[in-house]
């Protein structure tokens, strides 16, 4: 556990040190490439504008993620209830997934007047598919003998779903959530770029655009850093959730001595 934290921390410190060293050695001005110390100072000094923007982006991300998780699960259950439903609707889920968000985001922003909702729809479009496809996989790869056993003991469809298919699909669902969390953030940021709206409700992507126009390069880096940090945090939270839910029984979360 200590090595898991220490090794990447050491690499990170070395990289930051080298970065700072290169900046100073060749005297690279901050408007070309700011060093980590300048970026850290910018985060501190611009905290008053960066924090509200971070919260706006996180709110969109969180909402899109929650809708993806709930709708993704419901869609996956629906898909597995009937082969007909799956065959009829799954191609469209795939089409939504493979169409680049930047291509359809302008349309969504055009149609949906309330910008936060438009952003949420954009982020949801990229985030829901991993939940659906993973959960469908989990729901359909239940142990055949257990399915027979439930049948033998006269389980209803609902009982088989509640006590067999859903628990069996849980590791897959959680795996889908881990991918979906990061994608929701990416979707939210991309949609903000496309929307490009200012004002009180602007997220981190708008701060990056704004800083770019004003040639405040350190602030661009500060915003990028905050987005990455938010992504890492989301991943860590979802990994923790997965560990909590599966640690007693699933292979993926067993300790080495298991």
């Amino acid at each position: 556990m200590r090595e898991r934290v220490l090794a990447p921390a050491l690499i990170g410190l070395l990289a930051l040190g080298a970065w700072e060293g290169i900046i100073r050695w060749w005297s690279i001005p901050p408007y070309i490439l700011p060093g980590p110390i300048v970026i850290a100072r910018t985060i501190a000094s611009d905290w008053g504008t960066l924090l509200p923007s971070l919260l706006v982006t996180l709110a969109i991300t969180g909402a899109a993620f929650l809708v993806s998780a709930v709708l993704g699960l419901i869609l996956a259950v629906l898909f597995t209830q009937s082969a007909w439903i799956e065959r009829a609707f799954f191609p469209y889920a795939v089409i939504l997934q493979v169409t680049p968000l930047v291509a359809i985001a302008p349309l969504i922003i055009l149609w949906v007047k309330w910008i936060p909702l438009a952003l949420l729809i954009c982020a949801w479009l990229v985030a829901f598919f991993p939940v659906v496809s993973n959960t469908v996989l989990g729901l359909t790869s239940t142990d055949r003998n257990l399915v027979d056993l439930f049948h033998l003991y006269g389980a209803t469809r609902w009982q088989a779903l509640r006590y067999l298919r859903l628990p069996a699909a849980l590791p897959y669902f959680l795996g889908g959530l881990r991918i979906s969390g990061g994608l929701a953030l990416i979707g939210a940021v991309v949609a903000e770029f496309v929307a490009g709206t200012g004002g009180a409700q602007s997220g981190l992507a708008f701060r990056i655009l704004e800083a770019g126009y004003q040639l405040q390069i350190p602030r661009m880096f500060a915003a990028v850093f905050l987005i990455s940090a938010a992504g890492v945090l989301i991943f860590a939270l979802l990994t923790g959730l997965s560990r909590l839910a599966l640690q007693r029984w699933h292979e993926s979360e067993l300790d080495a001595e298991g």
């Binding site: 003998n145 003991y153 628990p167 699933h250």
Partner: protein, 252 residues
């Protein structure tokens, strides 16, 4: 315990799968109450199919399966080749599954679960997860789950095939004891001559492709079976007889 009247009768039962060869061809078999019937056959003789037909998990393509007690098919115990436990559920929840699915109230179910676990010698493991148990213990949990509904008929599909010999011998003796004590009727699928003779009061030899009853052979031995039976002359004689029947059935 002497075999009595038939519990279930298979009349000219055939089973074919779409795009597959005939698995069973006009097979007839009576299973008597309190009998321990071992279905012995090489792979491809349809013995697992036969067991799944009796369980009602698959339907026959032709022929009839008649139960003397019409309520009996709903009160079967079935043990698969693998323990087939839910890895996310504790031992008590795995064993109690059939009761939970039947909406039995919790306190009554808990009593039944404790009783079933006592029968397989697993008291004290109620709160364990399947992965914390050895292969033999998992199979015991699986047997406890089959017993928890207090069935009169137990269907077992090569349940000990993946266990080591020491564990298998112990489980076989415990199963023979359970059969005797609870007056069970057992249909047990195996591909081991030695296992079939040790456990069975009757060994039914199936021929392969398509499966048919090639021979049926009563086994005389102590009831319940005890370990010394394995080394007795009667056991070895019966093994030789059954081996010859199996060889004859396989070569046809």
């Amino acid at each position: 315990m002497t075999p009595g009247s038939p519990v279930v009768s298979l009349r000219e039962v055939s089973k074919s799968y779409p795009k597959g060869p005939l698995a069973l061809d006009r097979l007839s078999l009576d299973v008597m109450s309190h009998e321990f019937v071992c279905l012995l056959g090489p792979s491809g003789s349809g013995k697992s199919t036969l067991l799944r037909l009796i369980a009602g998990l698959v339907q026959p393509s032709a022929g009839r399966i008649e139960w003397t007690d019409p309520a009996a098919p709903r009160r079967l115990g079935f043990v698969f080749q693998e323990p087939t436990l839910m890895p996310w559920a504790r031992v008590e929840d795995n064993v109690g599954l059939p009761l939970m699915l039947a909406d039995m109230n919790e306190s009554e179910a808990a009593g039944r679960v404790g009783e079933a676990l006592a029968h397989v010698g697993l008291n004290g493991f109620e709160r364990a997860y399947p992965r914390e148990l050895s292969g033999g213990m998992r199979m015991r949990v699986s047997i406890a789950r089959a017993l928890v509904t207090q069935p009169s008929v137990l269907l077992m599909d090569e349940p000990f095939a993946s266990l080591d010999e020491i564990t298998r011998f112990r489980l076989e003796t415990d199963l023979a004891d359970l059969h005797q004590r609870r007056g069970l009727t057992v249909v047990f699928v195996t591909h081991s001559v030695f296992e079939s003779v040790y456990l069975g009061t009757r060994v039914v030899v199936l021929s392969p492709r398509p499966g048919r009853v090639a021979a049926s052979c009563q086994i005389e031995g102590p009831a319940p079976r005890v370990e010394v039976f394995r080394t007795s002359a009667a056991y070895l004689d019966a093994c030789r007889d059954v081996s010859m029947l199996l060889a004859a059935a396989s070569s046809r």
